[in-house]
Amino acid sequence: MELSTYNIIYLISNFFTIFILYRFTELFFTTLRCNKVFSYLAYFSYFILTSITYLTIDVPIITLCLNWIIIFVISLTYKSINQKRLIYVTYILMFMLFPELIVGVITGYFHFSFFVDGDYSNSMGIIVTKILTYSEALLLRNYKSTKDKQNVGWSLWLSSILIPISTLAYEIMFVNSDNLTKIKAITSIIILFVINITAFYLYDSLSKSYVQLAKLSILETENELYSKQCEIMQTSTEELQAFRHDMNNQFIALSQLLSSKKYEDAEAQLSKLSYLTKNKIIYSTSGNVIIDGLINYKLQNAINDKIKVKTEIAIPVQLQIDTTDIVAILGNLIDNALSALQDVSAEERYLTLKVVFSQKRLIIRTSNPYCGDIMCKNGKIVTSKKAHDLHGYGLNNIARAVDKYKGYMEINYSDNIYTVDIIMYI
């Protein structure tokens, strides 16, 4: 049997439907539960079975039931529960039918020149339907990504409409031209579908690689902090050994002072010793490598800068918080405090840092003296005396991370003491 042009176009667009179906399925089902090949086979069976039914039986109600069954079979290759599958498959079918109805209504009412010639009228109807359905699937996907808090740029929204519609418009103009042959028409339709599939495939793989890049940069931050922490531990071990070595001599001196009853001198010596043990460069020893690494790294020059650091760190070794978020919060808080302390006279420099976990909340406080003016605009701090751009930027980053955990931040500056209090629910 020889296929009519209409049938060929139907088959081509039916093949394209596989990709539309894939886009819709993606909306509701995310993880495969079997080998990819089975899933691909299920999709391909959609093409084969619906095509055969169309060419042989072609009764709408049967086609509809068949569609439902095959989509359900496709859904079986994904992880989900059956109740959800039943509902989602029905949704998918409704989404796919919706443009078909609209195009049906419009072509029923309007007669464009290119719809008149028997065969072509219905062929164009199919193509328009498929492209619109594809665009619909893309838009729904964007909507879902936005709901999942993924950033969907306006360019993707725009291209989800523009690419399908503009290629479709071009196609319509093309088939409307004079010397159109059957081959030309079919080729142009194939090209139309291929452009639409590849454009968004390209976009997806690009965005996947961006996500991977972002993950890599998080890993890099983590690695950096780990290695800084190692370095700091190394230095402190060396210092401790030197201190131990020194200790014996100190004890001898001390016992001599005591035996010769020079109690005041002995006490002075003793307080010097305790100062030595307190004069440590490790401020955080919670065992949480990221937080320890960050705090100890940021504060490694505190002694040289004559900053008295008081820390209260009480957190479990593992915390349910993203590395990037905690690094953004603590890193910026400490940076801000250190840069504010540069303007404070050396005797008055101190920094209080508190990171406490209790009842599934993380409570953070930094407190330090500052010099100069802090200006407030709409309850937000816009500038301190120095490097105001950087400060505002840092505070914004902190606020964004705190918001993510539905937390709360409070900034107080009175009596030349600047205090930031943060609570996060994790």
Binding site: T285, S286, G287, E312, I313, A314, I315, P316, V317, Q318, K354, V356, F357, S358, Q359, K360, R361, I363, R365, S367, Y405, K406, G407, Y408, E410, N412, S414, I417, T419, D421, I423, Y425
Partner: protein, 239 residues
């Protein structure tokens, strides 16, 4: 009267803690009674025989028992969810299990007097000085109930239900009058129909509070910031 228990196998640490606690209590005008235990098992025996304390200063690594075992005894065997546990330790790496006992704070050895004072100040800031009673009328009779046994109040139109760990009771009244009676004694109102005892909160979330008995209390949308602010005030104090 604040009943305080100290438990550490180092005698010197115990006496130093006691000295600092007595000093701090004097400075901030708290009446206190301190019991010192040099082993975990004696403390646990005491608890199982019915002794109750408001605050425990517990060493995490004792010779005979671990801080986890003693905390488990306080919370689960002696069923005391109201007591506040302060862990005193030379180690700063804390086992995640410790956090499940809702520690009040951690004190790092060596400590000085100011740390002890800060801890007691925080206790007073949240729970107040009075070891108060709550009075309510039921018919013609007046009843009273120890505040440290109340989980939360829940209002239903004109009726208010008092829930404790073991019993429930009802009386006629309004949430606002109850709030007035409970000012600065460790109660918070996350919702117009609820007043919650801070010491019995197991988990804080942005939009709800989970009590030690598993009850979930909603936080009204308009009160979320206020609740976070209040927690920061309780936990961190002034500036």
């Amino acid at each position: 009267m604040l009943r305080i228990a100290i438990c550490d196998d180092e005698e010197k640490v115990c006496s130093l803690l006691e000295k600092h606690i007595i000093g701090a209590c004097k400075e901030i005008y708290i009446e206190s009674e301190i019991d010192v235990f040099s082993s975990g098992s004696t403390l646990m025996n005491h608890l199982l025989n019915g002794s109750m304390y408001n605050i425990f200063f517990l060493d995490i690594e004792l010779n005979d028992e671990s801080g986890i075992t003693i905390s488990d005894c306080i919370r689960n065997k002696a069923n005391d969810e109201s007591a506040q546990i302060v862990y005193v330790s030379g180690k700063t790496e804390y086992d995640r299990k410790l956090f499940a006992f809702r520690p009040f704070s951690f004190i790092e050895k060596p400590f000085d007097a100011s740390v002890i004072r800060t801890t007691l100040e925080k206790y007073m800031r949240i729970y107040g000085n009075k070891n108060g009673l709550f009075h309510y009328k039921h018919g013609h009779d007046t009843y009273w109930i120890n505040l440290s046994t109340i989980l939360y109040f829940k209002s239903n139109r004109k009726k208010i239900t008092i829930l404790t760990l073991t019993t429930n009771d009802e009386f006629y009244g309004s949430i606002s009058s109850v709030i007035n009676q409970l000012r600065s004694q460790g109660f918070i109102s996350p919702h117009k129909s609820y007043i919650v005892n801070y010491r019995f909160i197991k988990v804080f979330q942005a939009d709800a509070i989970i009590m030690v008995n598993g009850d979930k209390i909603p936080i009204a949308k308009g009160k979320r910031d206020e609740m976070s602010k209040l927690q920061l005030h309780f936990e961190n104090g002034g500036h």
